[in-house]
Every structure is written in C-alpha cells, then in structure tokens.
C-alpha cells in the first residue's frame, strides 16, 4: 500500500506497523518523533500502531536552529 512519508510516496507492506516503517526507513536507532494524520504516535506504541493506505506520516528530528 502507498502512504505519504514526509511528503513523499512510500510503498510499504500491508499490515505495516509504525515500528516496521521505522525499520524499513532504517531509523530504528534514531531519535525521532512520528505523527500520522496529525496525531502524534508515542514511541512506546509503534509496535501496535497499524498504518493504513494513504496515511500521511511525518517523521521529525531535532537539528540545529535558533
């Protein structure tokens, strides 16, 4: 199925969890936060959170800024 991740289309397997997505993107060791359709998904619930077709996912990190 197709979802949007940070504004770009991403083809992921059906029944994909947030945890699986993070692994596909090789971000499992990174300090990130995730939002799906404007709702924050707590890191502790990634394994139980199933993504759906057309979900809009934002994955953010802390970078240098003023």
């Amino acid at each position: 199925m197709i979802i949007q991740v940070n504004g770009e289309s991403q083809d992921i397997p059906d029944h994909c969890t947030a945890q699986k997505l993070v692994e596909i993107l090789q971000m499992q060791n990174d300090k990130i936060a995730m939002e799906v359709n404007l709702e924050i998904i707590p890191r502790s619930t990634y394994s139980n959170f199933f993504l759906n077709q057309n979900d809009k996912v934002e994955i953010v990190r802390a970078i240098g800024g003023g």
Partner: protein
C-alpha cells in the same frame, strides 16, 4: 559570586542562551556551544531525510540533552496551529520535555512576531502543560500580557532576527524588565559583544543569540567574547552604574595641590 536565575523551577548559572543553527558543521556547533558556557540551547524540529545514511552523526550525539538543556523552538511557524504542532512533536521527541521556545512569525522579510497568533499558541501550550519561553516584540504591553498568561520567560527582540543591529529600543527593554516578575531575555538582533553587554546592563536576565556567534568569522572566539560580555554586563548592572552628567568631575582631589 553565585548569581543564578530560574526558569520553570530550574536554576541556571549561565545567562547566555545559544542557538544551534547556521554553523559550518556539528563540530563547530559543539566547540562554540561549549566555549559559550551556555546551559540552554535552542534546536529546530524538522523532517528527517528519508534515505539518509543510517548512523550519520546528529546534534543529539554531539550535544546530548543530558549535558545541555534543549529548548525546541517553533522557528519557521507562521500560525499558532503550526507552532503548537511543533511543540507537541518536540515533547514526544525529547521524552516528555516541556520547555519550549514559542515563536510565531508574521512576515518573512522582518521575521517580526505575529503577536496575535503568539497569544493563541501560548494559551493552548500553557493549558497543555508546556513551559513556554516566548519570543515577542519589544512591546511592554504584549510582554506583560504574555507573562500574565503564564509564560515562564518573556523574550523581546532587540532587533530583527539575524540582523545584528543591536538593542534598537533600550527604553522599551528597560520598561519590560522593570514591569516583569518572570525572567526577561533579549532574543534576536544582537550583533556583537557590546550589544549583549547592553542588554544585561539594562537588567535583562539573559540573552539568547545564534547568528551573532555562528555567523562570526571565528564563531568559537565570538562565543568566548559573548560569554564575557554577558558576565560583564550583568556585573555592571548589579554594581550600579554612575549617573550620566553633562560636565566633568575630577578624579583626583583638589585639596593638597601645590601649584
């Protein structure tokens, strides 16, 4: 001399707060931040780069949050909704960390704050349990209102962000300081060490700066200069400067002259 100040119940010794943007690389960010002695550092919340090489160094590795207090900011937000969303993502990212810098911009050319949207965002964030340090105009009425709403620190601009123009309105900054019961920090517009010292001499509790250090020819040396300027300005404020007078006042006694 112990001269700490308190934000949201936590004491800080350093009155210099720094941003972490605009540096050449992470090594320079770390060196300048360490030299500055800052205990609070702003960070931006942005999208991760999809397809980035895993294990690439990042800010959290070189300046871990257990060594310096992270202050996620909402830079780049032009609406209350975007700012609120950014703060909530930051809290999740930093494991429940509630201290944020709220900045809602009004215009790309000046980067002046949109104070109306700042009020809206501040109210929601405070109700949601955030400790809000708020960027605002050098307007004593707006500053007081943000304090009354429950912001933990109010941070008026000295001049537009990144402009380096220095304290454009010292009388307003002083009015804001005199009326405040929460820490007042000058945020934005400082260009060089004397600007930082002036902010502190006006009685500000601290100064937050980024470009003045990161954009200097030698950022690490400027970080050192800013640290000293903040300390010097603070000590001068506490010492109490002499009044300004139009005419001279001799330093040597007149008594005992033999000529």
């Amino acid at each position: 001399m112990t001269d700490s100040f308190t934000i949201a119940g936590k004491q800080y010794q350093s009155r210099l707060l720094v941003g972490s943007g605009k540096y050449k690389d992470l090594e320079e960010t770390k060196l300048a931040t360490d030299v500055s002695g800052a205990e609070i550092m702003t960070v931006a919340i942005r999208r991760t780069n999809i397809g980035q090489k895993p294990g690439e160094p990042n800010l959290l590795d070189v300046l871990p949050p257990d060594q310096i207090t992270y202050l996620p900011n909402t830079a780049g937000c032009y609406t209350a909704d975007d700012a609120i969303r950014t703060c909530r993502l930051a809290r999740e990212l930093l494991d429940g960390h509630n201290l944020v810098k709220l900045e809602v911009l009004g215009d790309e050319k000046t980067l002046y704050p949109n104070v109306d949207q700042t009020y809206v965002a501040a109210e929601t964030l405070i109700n949601d349990g955030f400790d809000v340090m708020v960027y605002t105009n050098d307007d004593p009425i707006a500053a007081k209102r943000l304090e009354d709403m429950g912001c933990v620190a109010v941070m008026p601009l000295a001049a537009p962000i990144g402009s380096g123009l220095g304290i454009r309105n010292p009388y307003n900054i002083r009015s804001i300081v005199e009326n405040a019961k929460v820490p007042i920090l000058v945020d934005a517009g400082v260009g060089t060490a004397s600007d930082a010292a002036i902010a502190m001499e006006l009685g500000c509790d601290g100064v937050l700066m980024n470009t003045a250090i990161a954009g200097a020819k030698n950022p690490i040396l400027m970080a050192s200069a800013m640290k000293k300027a903040i300390e010097a300005g603070r000590e001068a404020y506490l010492a109490g400067r002499i009044p300004k007078k139009q005419y001279a006042s001799a330093s040597s006694p007149i008594d005992g002259t033999f000529f």
